[in-house]
Every structure is written in C-alpha cells, then in structure tokens.
C-alpha cells in the first residue's frame, strides 16, 4: 500500500512533466498535423539554459554553504525559469520560421540569409579561442557572405520545385532539425553531463507512515498545473487561442476568415517551446538528472506517445496521456523485476490503447469520407 501510494506520487510528478512536453507536441500537431520531433530537443535546450542560469548568470547560493538563502533562491529560480521559457519560445519560433514554414510556403531570400548564419556557426566555433570580438566579426561576415551565396541558389530552386505537402517529408525535416539541435548542442555545450547544484531545500513532507512527498516533487507538480491552467486560459479565452482552434479545425477556412495563419502558427510554437523550456528547467533544477545534449530524445518521444495516447491534437488529452504514462512508468520502474523494462512500457500502453481506440483516449474518430 505504501509502495503503491509512493509510486503513484512519483508517477504523477513524472507524468506532469511528460504532460508539459506533450502539450507542445499536441498543439503543433493540432494546427499543422506535424510530429515536431525537435520538440524534445527544445526541452533539452531549456534544461541547459536552466543550468547556465543557475550556475553562471544568476547569483544563486549553494544551500549546503548558505542554509538561509532559500527565499532569494526561490525568487531567482522564478527568474531562471522565465529565462528558460523565453529562450525556448524564441527557439520554437525560429524553428518554425526557418524549417517548417518553407515546407508550407517555399523557400525565400530571408530563409537563405538565415541558413547562411547557421552555416557560419562552425566557422565561428573554429575561431572561438580568439576572443569575443573576433568571433562575432567572423560570424557576422561569414554569415552574411554565405547568405548572399545561398540567395540565388534558393531563387533558382524555388522556380524548380513544386510544393506538395507530404507528411513524410515534414517528418524528416523535423528529424533533421532535431539532429541539428542535438549535434549543435554537443558542439556548444559539450558532451560532458552537467548537474545543477543543490539550490532548493530537499526536505520532504510525510503524508502518512512511510509515505513521503518531496518539496521538489510538489514544486514540479504545482508549477506544471499552473502552467497548464494558463495555457487553458490562452487557448479557450483569448483571440489568439480562438484563432489556434480555428486553424486546427480547418486551416484553409481560417485563412479565408482573415486569420494570419503564419503568425498564429508561430505563436503556437512559441507557446509549446515555453512549456518545454519550463519542463526542462524544472527537471534540471529539481531532480538532479544528468543534462546532456541527447537527453531530450527519449522524454521527447515518450511525450509524443503521451500526446497520441490522449488523442493527438487534443489538449486535455495530452495532459491526461502524460499523467497516465508517468504513472505507468513509475509503477514499472519501481517494481522489483520489471524495472529494466521502464523504457518499453510507454509503447506497450500505447499499442494496447490505440488498438482499442485508434483515435486516442479523448480523440474523436473521424470516419473517412469516400
């Protein structure tokens, strides 16, 4: 019984994190019918931004040395989380603008300039030991130059390509972006795993005999519920949210009603990115996981599984699916004999549920019209 409740608490906490990531997946899937594979890597970037905020940018104090710094640390943590969310929202928008929008609308000159700057990153890194001004100068010059080289190429290609939205094509683009972020992360952050030092009290509250709930767990749960309520407000009660729902219902009709679909889609990516950034920060700051550039891959895929489980494109479904998966995983990893099957349980649950309800738990099955 104690074991059961303890695992349940852990599962709900894990599940609320999955839910945060899954929401980003499901919103993007709702508006674009695209599996945004790079979302898990946005989460990774959130964790790294959190790491740098906690260790370098903000004056956090190690609680082991300064036990009285709890309040300032909490205030700083809120700022750090806001930074992580902002960076990830911006990253989400950049990904949408320069990788997914050309898929819908074709490449243009701005895309060429952007990709020029991406191509210039290796050059900038190559001279990184020369000091900041040199690096910036090299980066700017080579980025602009590369962009100018790419412009005519892009114009030529644009004349030749016939746009046809293919799902596989979009998926591979998303996978490519994910690889760019992972390998870029390896380059920028390095391959060594990082840890955030103890900046929050690690005490736990005893609910009953043998059942403890950690402060960190409570914080993760509370923050994610607050964020989900905020998202619910945005989606249901603002003009932008209504536009999002309209696009996910029928993008062509939404365009004809005067909705600037590109802007709303960018906004959707920003929202999803912000949630993933918050999730990454919470995990990094409160659970002492190893942060590596690859650490977004598996949580990302599991979160997408959670989104599909709840019904892809369905926002409450993603939250439900996330919690369900977290609980299932907690029970499997907490049990004695099955703990090594931890990474497989998510998919087993998914297969069973999809065979019973092919549209997911809360998804609506749309019969095919002939």
């Amino acid at each position: 019984m104690e074991w059961f409740v303890q695992q349940l608490i852990y599962g709900v906490q894990l599940g609320s994190l999955y839910a945060l990531i899954a929401l980003g997946y499901t919103m993007v899937y709702g508006v674009l019918r695209l599996i945004n594979f790079a979302h898990g890597d946005v989460y990774m970037v959130g964790a790294f931004v959190g790491f740098y905020a906690c260790t370098a940018w903000l004056p956090f104090k190690d609680l082991n040395a300064h036990p009285d710094a709890v309040t300032t640390n909490i205030a700083l943590a809120i700022i750090a989380m806001a930074i992580a969310m902002a960076v990830c929202a911006a990253l989400g928008m950049v990904i949408e603008r320069f990788a997914y929008r050309p898929l819908r609308n074709g490449l243009n000159r701005q895309d060429a300039r952007f990709w020029g700057f991406v191509g210039a990153i290796p050059l900038a890194v190559a001279v990184s030991d020369q000091g900041a001004p040199v690096v910036l100068a090299v980066y700017a010059v080579s980025g602009i130059a590369l962009g100018h080289v790419l412009c005519p190429v892009v114009a030529w290609l644009r004349r030749r390509t016939v746009l046809s939205p293919s799902r596989l094509n979009a998926l591979i683009t998303a996978i490519g972006v994910s690889l760019v972020l992972q390998n870029g992360g390896l380059l920028v952050f390095g391959a060594d795993p990082r840890f955030i030092p103890t900046i929050f009290p690690e005490s736990s509250i005893a609910l009953a005999d043998g059942i403890h709930v950690g402060i960190g767990q409570l914080a993760i749960l509370g923050v994610s519920i607050a964020l989900m309520l905020g998202l619910r407000h945005i989606v249901l009660h603002t003009r932008r949210g209504r536009a999002m729902r309209a696009i996910s219902h029928d993008i062509e009709a939404a365009k004809m009603m005067g909705i600037d679909t590109d802007r709303v889609i960018a906004f959707t990516f920003a929202l999803g990115g912000a949630l993933a950034g918050a999730g990454g920060f919470l995990v990094a700051a409160l659970t002492h996981v190893k942060i590596t550039p690859m650490f977004g891959l598996l949580p990302g895929i599991k979160a997408f599984v959670a989104a599909v489980l709840g019904g892809a494109g369905n926002i409450p479904g993603a939250a439900l699916g996330g919690v369900l998966m977290g609980v299932a995983e907690a029970f499997v990893s907490g049990s004695q004999h099955l703990s090594t099957y931890r990474d497989a349980i998510a998919f087993c649950v998914l297969v069973v549920i999809l065979l019973v309800r092919p549209a997911g738990l809360l998804g609506q099955h749309v019969p095919e019209k002939v």
Binding site: D111, T173, V305
Partner: protein, 339 residues
Amino acid sequence: MPWFAVRVASIAGAVAALYLLSGLLTATIEAYVLQVLVQCGIYAILAVSLNLINGITGQFSIGHAGFFAVGAYVGAAWTMLWQPHAVRVTSALAMGTPAGDALNLLIACALGMAAASLAGAAVGLPSLRLRGDHLAIVTLGFGEVIRVLLLNIDAVGGARGLSGIPTLASTGDLAVFWVFLFLVLVIAVSRNLMNTTRGLTWLAVREDEVAADAMGVNTTRVKVTAFVLGSAFAGAAGVLYAHIMTGISPDVFGIDTSIIITTMVVLGGTGSVTGATLAAFLLVALPEMLRFMKDYRLVIFSTLLVLLMLTRPHGILGTRELGYATLFRRRQTGSPGTR
C-alpha cells in the same frame, strides 16, 4: 533453350561476376574504404527493404531497426549457440572451410529472415487498424520494445551484447560479396514486384487504400505481406551485420538507427528503389567524407539534411528510377513504378 535455363544461367553468371568484382575491389581498395562500402551496402539493404513497406505500399513504418535487431540476434544465436549442437549431428555444418562458412551463413540468414518476418507480421497486424502518424509511432515503439527485450535476455548478453561472433566472411572480399549479393536480391525483388500485377496492388494501396479496397484488392493481405517481406530483408541485413562486425549490442539498434533508415527512404524519394540505394550510400559515406571537419561534421550533416528536404521536397529522385529503361530511352512510357 527454355527461358528458365537462360534465366538461371544469367543469374549464375551475375553472381560469379559479383564474386570476381568483390575480389577485385578487395585487392585494389584500402581496408577502410572497403569497410565503409560494406556499411553502405548493409544500410542500402535496410533502406530498400523499408522502401517496400514505406515507399511502395505507403505504410508509415519508422521502426525498422527492430527487425534489423531480430535478424542480427537470431543469426548470431545460430552461429554462437545453436550451431555447436547442430554440428554434432552432421559434420557438414562444421565451420572453417569456405563451403561450411557459406552454408552456416545461409542458414543464419534463413533463420534471421524467418524470425524478422514473424516480427514484421506482428507489427503489420496493427497496421490494419492504424494509419499515418499513429502507425508511425506504434512501429517506432515496437522497435524500441524489441530493443528493451534484447536488453533483458541474458542468453544473448543483455546490455553487454554479443561479442566474438565467428566471422563467416573472414577473407574480406567475402563480406563485400555477401552484402552486395543480398542488396542485388532485395533490389531485384522490389523492381520485379513493381512490374507485376501483384506489385500494382501494392502501389494501389499506397495511392488510395479505400479505392484499392473497392476495386477488389485484398488490402489486409497486401499490407501484412509488405511488412513480412520488408522485415525479412532487414533481418538478412542484421545477420550480415552481426557476422561482419562480429559484435552486436542492443545500443546499435536504437531509435536513432530507425530514424536514419527512414531518412534514407524519404531522402531518396519515397517509392524509388534507386533513390533509397543512393541515399543510403550518401548518408553513410557523407559523415565519413566530412570527417576532416572533426566536431562540426554532424552539425553540417544534419543541416544539409534539412536543406535537402527543403529544396527537394520529393527526395533526390522523386519517384523516378534509374535503370536500363530510363538510361537508354529518352522517355519512359507508363511504367507502373512511376506516377
């Protein structure tokens, strides 16, 4: 001469030519390039076999590494665990002689292909009920489940994997020979399939499943057959991989491998056999060619991938094929392989 005698003679001639050619390659090319070439071949088998499922039948499967793993482990299990028992029954199975090695490799391939196609049938069944992205995520999950299962079976080494698998292609040129033999086989099967009425039903399922059903195509059978056939060849690739690398572990067959195989199919042009082969060679050889850029090579590689997808939305070749028909004739007239 009856037509099948011509056929058999030409196939035997082609195999002999391949054998001579692989001997020639081994004698002239340096070992490292040869190893890259073998890797290219193995991934090309995987890509062309996935193309049977993904490109020709249009079933969105992205968990091909699972079948690759099943083939590799079952093949390795034959040579490491079962063959020692079998050799006591009949000494014809003894390894060490060229004939014995070849026989054992063929048996391992047969077992690996059978096991992988069973796994393929098991994954094909959900495809009867699921479509598009949902099917994709289920197949991806299935590959991951296979990996976790292998991680937990102690008889095949668990997380350590199997090492010291006897190499049945010890002389080097044999590795090239076997890999390219199977590559030619899977390409021939795909190409010939597209020129038969049976293959037409597969293409019909890709183009419009409901319409194909209405025209009397047994879509259930087509989809499961595609999964079985595609995964059987992935299993063969696994057996070859195990006996050339002589060491396998569950890590080799993770999600990233599945993803790279899918990428090859899409990058080459979904449905194009030539495209899948070309893309496999490109995606294996490119990171090697970029090696002089050290740490940046993977970033450049992935950026190139995104850019290729943005600039060539239909893949390198689209649905076109390269072959005698397209090389020596200006315009191809209505081959079933082209849309």
